[in-house]
């Protein structure tokens, strides 16, 4: 009786008063997480602050994490640069068109592959999964794209990556977790496979469709490699290629001499602004994107 009393008293006391050991522990993890958070936010703040600063202050290395001599000159230069605007428009096109193709193809494939007892489907699923472990590689891919006459076309940014196997697996897992009784009931009512997909399965799968839409969209927005490899027409370049040209070049490259002279003056400032401008769409949707990306990790990890 008495020991119980003591432990009850102790635990109530603990709720109000932490033991010294616990106080030290909580202090340490609070500090640790704060340090990690700061180490992530500081470089980002530095970039944003510099982008809003005076070009002279940037070049002199005066900007730490707060704008010095507020100015929008860099942004004016960014938005009056034709290459960047072209890149922006192209990227928006590739992202929208590409994502639509991605989601349609992935949902169709996932539906057929999610159904049990259909001949050949398991083999096809294996063929998809195998491509995750083994691919043709850069050079054969490049030759075949040439054979298909896809080099230097807008289609090469959309078609070759039409289905991401990871997303296919996530969608298929999700479809498989929908109770089979639903399909059986629909069948008894005379519902065809296609009708079941469009009027029952898809409305129930909004969550997973949102997840893969965002995965694909962010993927397209950030994509660099395919454009780097398959495109060499400046009119078709997505934003990332122009970014690479400007951000990583140590010299100003612009076919227009006036623009080049203007850029030389603002060179450092411009880089900071570009980093911000290219990331703005993702930052705008960030809370939304974050929520669904986390959801995707969860669905993906159910199957392991």
């Amino acid at each position: 009786m008495q020991t119980q009393d003591v432990s009850v008293r102790q635990s109530t006391r603990k709720k109000i008063h932490l033991s010294t050991e616990d106080q030290i522990f909580y202090t340490i993890i609070n500090i640790l997480t704060a340090v990690i958070t700061i180490s992530i936010i500081f470089p980002l703040m530095h970039i944003v602050a510099a982008s809003f600063s005076d070009p002279a202050a940037v070049s002199a290395g005066k900007v730490i994490i707060w704008p010095v001599g507020f100015s929008l000159e860099g942004y004016q230069a960014v938005f009056s640069n034709k290459s960047i605007l072209t890149g922006y428009a192209n990227t928006i096109f590739y992202t929208v068109a590409g994502t639509m193709v991605n989601v349609a193809m992935t949902a169709m494939a996932a539906y057929a592959l999610s159904r049990k007892n259909v001949p050949f489907m398991n083999s096809i699923m294996f063929m998809f999964t195998f491509t995750m472990m083994f691919g043709a590689g850069m050079v054969p891919n490049f030759i075949i794209m040439g054979k298909y006459h896809l080099l230097n076309t807008r289609l090469v940014m959309i078609i070759p990556g039409a289905i991401g196997v990871q997303n296919l697996i996530i969608t298929r897992t999700f479809f498989r977790n929908i109770p089979e009784e639903l399909l059986e009931a629909a069948r008894i009512d005379g519902c065809s496979d296609a009708k079941y997909f469009f009027s029952i399965l898809l409305p129930l799968s909004k969550a997973v469709l949102a997840v893969i839409t965002l995965y694909y969209a962010v993927g397209h927005w950030n994509a660099y490699f395919d454009a780097f490899l398959y495109l060499n027409d400046r009119k078709l370049y997505p934003l990332q290629i122009f970014l690479q040209e400007i951000l990583l070049a140590s010299n100003v490259v612009d076919p227009d001499p006036d623009a080049a002279e203007e850029m030389r003056k603002l060179f450092n400032l411009l880089k900071y602004c570009l980093i911000v401008v290219s990331s703005v769409p993702i930052l705008c949707f960030y809370p939304f994107i974050q929520k669904y990306f986390v959801k995707g990790v969860m669905i993906g990890s159910i199957k392991g």
Binding site: S11, Y26, I124, I163, L243, S279, I289
Partner: protein, 307 residues
């Protein structure tokens, strides 16, 4: 005979499903398996005029050329160094952070930390490398400014140093992936039975002791799986980041298999398709072997950890 009829019947019954898979299947063949047919140029002397099938066979000549070239050792060494270092430095961080996050008392503070630490995951490679360049700029970057402030002398140019390359590459990867990597562990931690915590608390276990004896054991299976998955990629270092961070000054440390494949296979000047394809194939086969081996081990481990 009856089986055959049954199969036919099942195919006919499901004809709509085959319509659904038709386009994806054509895509799969055209864009994944036809290029694999093109791998044969690794064993040929590819001639664009004669095409893939018409080029003459040369056996393993392209492979031996790679194995005996002076680049071989450097490229393999850099690839393994980078991925091994990434594993050692990058793997424990999310585990540690997840345990800390889970133990935080303020749910609001935890949300803020999660929100911020996830951000870098969404940054594009080109932008990431640009951020690195700006931040580590000796004069105008955050690093340069702080270095100047603390030591009084100008910071070294880390981007032009072969010695610093691996550290920059790996730690920027840690910076970018640490927060995102916690998600799987936090999911596992949310499944920990609260009664275990309560029981331990009544026994007088401090919060730290409970992290060690309750939380940590709960995520060990997840840790093992993640570790196994990661080690399957030990021979692959992605093209993009290494290529974008490369310059003539750090090439000794930054040339990895994928960037080398690009340069010899498709790069400007004397591109040798067959040679590039051979190196790419060598890398793919090694990766496939690693993944198969790792899968085999994970099945074994998975079985033993089931009890």
């Amino acid at each position: 005979m009856k089986d055959k009829n049954d199969l036919q019947k099942r195919i006919v019954q499901n004809w709509q499903l085959y319509l659904f898979i038709l386009l994806p299947f054509i895509y799969l063949i055209m864009f994944k398996y036809v290029p694999m047919y093109g791998i044969q140029i690794a064993f040929k002397k590819f001639d664009p005029v004669k095409g893939i099938a018409g080029s003459p066979w040369v056996g393993f000549q392209n492979f031996t050329q790679f194995f005996t070239s002076y680049q071989f050792e450097r490229v393999i060494k850099n690839t393994i160094t980078l991925s091994f270092y990434s594993l050692i430095a990058g793997f424990p961080m999310p585990v540690l952070l997840a345990l800390c996050l889970n133990a935080l008392r303020s749910a609001k503070y935890r949300k803020v930390v999660q929100m911020i630490t996830y951000i870098p995951h969404f940054i594009a490679v080109v932008v990431m490398v640009s951020i690195l360049r700006q931040v580590f700029n000796p004069v105008i970057g955050l690093f340069g400014i702080l270095y100047q402030f603390l030591t009084g002398s100008t910071a070294p140019d880390l981007f032009g140093s072969a010695k610093a390359f691996a550290h920059l590459y790996v730690w920027s990867g840690v910076w970018q992936g640490m927060g995102w990597g916690t998600i799987v562990y936090i999911a596992a931690l949310s499944n920990v039975d609260q009664e275990l915590h309560e029981a331990a608390e009544i026994d007088g276990a401090s919060r730290f002791k409970r992290v060690i004896h309750v939380d940590f054991p709960a995520i060990v299976p997840t840790i093992v799986i993640m570790l196994i998955l990661r080690s399957g990629n030990i021979m692959s270092v992605g093209f993009e980041k290494a290529y974008l961070m490369q310059n003539n000054l750090n090439l000794n440390a930054s040339e990895v298999i994928s960037t080398y494949v690009y340069k010899v296979g498709l790069g400007a000047g004397n591109a040798n398709f067959s040679y590039g394809a051979a190196i790419g194939l060598f890398n793919s086969v090694v990766n496939l072997m690693m993944i198969t081996l790792v899968n085999y081990i994970s099945n074994k481990v998975g079985e033993t950890s089931l009890w």
